[in-house]
């Protein structure tokens, strides 16, 4: 059974600092997704990583995928308060749905 583990689950960081969120998954998959959820809101797609070595960047966020290690990272550069949210990674399953990680709740403090 596919398992998706994120760490850390909670992250408090100061503005201007860098940090990385990790997403490990247990079975072979070449597609990984990152979503953002603001409190009380729905999930918004951030990145779709479609192959080994894929790297995507949007503003202060950069996501990468290593399918051999079954690992994706979401790197935050020079954090700002607006990045405070919960970030989920998700992996495709063979029956066309996704398995989600538990989420990383990020708080960026001034």
């Amino acid at each position: 059974e596919l398992k998706v583990e994120q760490n850390p689950l909670f992250l408090s960081m100061q503005e201007g600092k860098n940090y990385t969120i990790y997403c490990n998954y247990s079975t072979t998959s070449d597609r990984l997704y990152w979503y953002r959820q603001d409190p009380g809101k729905s999930l918004e797609s951030l990145f779709v990583l479609l192959s080994n070595g894929a790297v995507k960047q949007e503003g202060r966020l950069m996501a990468s995928l290593d399918t051999k290690a079954r690992l994706s990272t979401l790197h935050i550069t020079a954090a700002v308060h607006d990045l405070s949210a919960t970030y989920f990674c998700a992996v495709d399953r063979s029956n066309n749905d996704m398995r989600f990680g538990a989420g990383t709740r990020l708080t960026v403090k001034p």
Binding site: S45, N96, G101, G103
Partner: protein, 118 residues
Amino acid sequence: NAGVTQTPKFRILKIGQSMTLQCTQDMNHNYMYWYRQDPGMGLKLIYYSVGAGITDKGEVPNGYNVSRSTTEDFPLRLELAAPSQTSVYFCASRGPKDGSPGGNYGYTFGSGTRLTVV
């Protein structure tokens, strides 16, 4: 395009009552899904559908039913509501995964339905 539309946004049910959560998408997506999200947790799949007339159970189907009579609509039915069904429910859809024109590899989510069973 409206994307994925869920109604209602909020609902309070009494134990034993029933209700239907509505989900409609206007993107002609074949795949549709219902997830629940408990406080501070990730999403768990309740039911999914790969096309009109085809539905299947996810991880946590007990206490729920679905139907898919059209491509656009994928309602979720709660029978005999229980406090354990208090949650936020998200409907999602996705297009072809093969990169064909109009394909959308990831999910498009609805805005969610916050359900409380008392």
